[in-house]
């Protein structure tokens, strides 16, 4: 009698475990955030922003030459100029002037970054930098295309800084996204990627 009860109890446990396993298998998986699920083919795409001359700038103007795309803002004194200066330096080492790839900066601070402010900032690097800004909606559209995050962070006084994705996106001459450069990636690795971009 006792033994029978134990057997029934055990079968109940087995049944319960099987049921839980079945439910877990059938349940839909939780959605993964866009930034990490965005596959290579989904990153990028055509856009229209505002050039540093204040006129519309279509990404079709970049076709025919690879480009390195970076998101930043002109009130950023540390990482943004360091990244752009590094791209300029690496481009020089490729030895083809600015023919090997274009450097494109997209503002994540359209509120303060007027076309004129972008032009002044871009002129500091001693080499052509295409500096683009635009309406908040237009900038948000491009950020979404590249899975880029940015957020205003208040600073003491009325100032603010903008936290943002510091990845450099490499786009080939057909306008296709091919690779990224991370800020902590060594110059050697970065140079190799830019050489491949130029040859592709």
């Amino acid at each position: 009698m006792m033994l029978r009860r134990v057997r029934i109890g055990l079968w109940l446990v087995v049944g319960l475990v099987a049921l839980v396993a079945l439910v877990m298998t059938l349940m839909p998986r939780p959605a993964v955030p866009i930034a990490s699920s965005q596959s290579m083919t989904e990153i990028g795409g055509p856009f229209t922003l505002t050039g540093s001359d204040g006129r519309p700038f279509s990404s079709s103007r970049l076709a025919g030459k690879p480009y390195a795309l970076f998101f930043g803002f002109t009130h950023c004194p540390d990482v943004c100029p360091t990244t752009l200066a590094r791209l300029a330096r690496l481009r020089t080492t490729l030895g083809k002037g600015d023919d090997s790839f274009a450097i494109v900066l997209v503002s994540v601070d359209p509120e303060r970054d007027t076309p004129a402010a972008m032009a002044r900032y871009a002129s500091l690097f001693g080499t052509p930098v295409i500096a683009l800004t635009g309406s908040t909606a237009a900038i948000d559209g491009v950020k979404k295309q590249y899975g880029v995050y940015s957020a205003k962070v208040p600073q003491p006084g009325a100032d603010y800084s903008v936290d943002h994705t510091a990845t450099v996106f490499l786009i080939d001459r057909k306008g296709k996204f091919v690779a990224t450069l991370a800020p902590d990636e060594g110059d050697e690795a970065a140079r190799a990627k830019l050489e491949r971009l130029d040859r592709a």
Partner: protein, 139 residues
């Protein structure tokens, strides 16, 4: 006798608590000038006791504050350093690109490459140290 021993103990304790004076020197100072702001980097070498860099002033140039850039995955975050920068006894601290730096905002006028900016570094123990840092473009 007991009183004398306590007095001696107290004196010894006080002597032990007296830290050596800091001797902090500033080197490799440079200013990266941008249209509306600037970043300042330098190295602090301490051949004495511990100290703390509390703040930096750039009188006549703009509003200076200590900042720290950090990477959170692929995201760059920049924050004000409120509690200063500790310089350990006989230690060295380097302020460099994509890390800790002085940010000058609200520039009175853009800083010209080739000029110099006067900076006052305020240390907790050593007091004020004035330096002159050369201005250059991004690199």
């Amino acid at each position: 006798m007991k009183a004398a021993i306590s007095l001696l103990a107290a004196t010894l304790l006080t002597a032990c608590n007296t830290e050596p004076a800091p001797v902090v020197t500033v080197s490799e100072a440079r200013v990266i000038a941008l249209p509306t702001s600037a970043a300042v980097y330098f190295t602090l070498v301490n051949s004495g006791g511990r100290d703390r860099l509390l703040s930096v002033g750039a009188e006549g140039a703009g509003k200076a504050s200590l900042h720290e850039t950090s990477m959170d995955g692929a995201i760059m975050r920049m924050r004000v350093i409120d509690d200063g920068i500790e310089i350990p006894e006989r230690g060295q601290v380097r302020l460099s690109a994509s890390g800790r730096h002085v940010m000058i905002q609200n520039l009175v006028e853009p800083l010209a490459a080739g000029s110099n900016v006067k900076l006052t570094l305020r240390f907790e123990r050593q007091g004020n140290v004035e330096i002159s840092a050369p201005v250059g473009g991004p690199r």
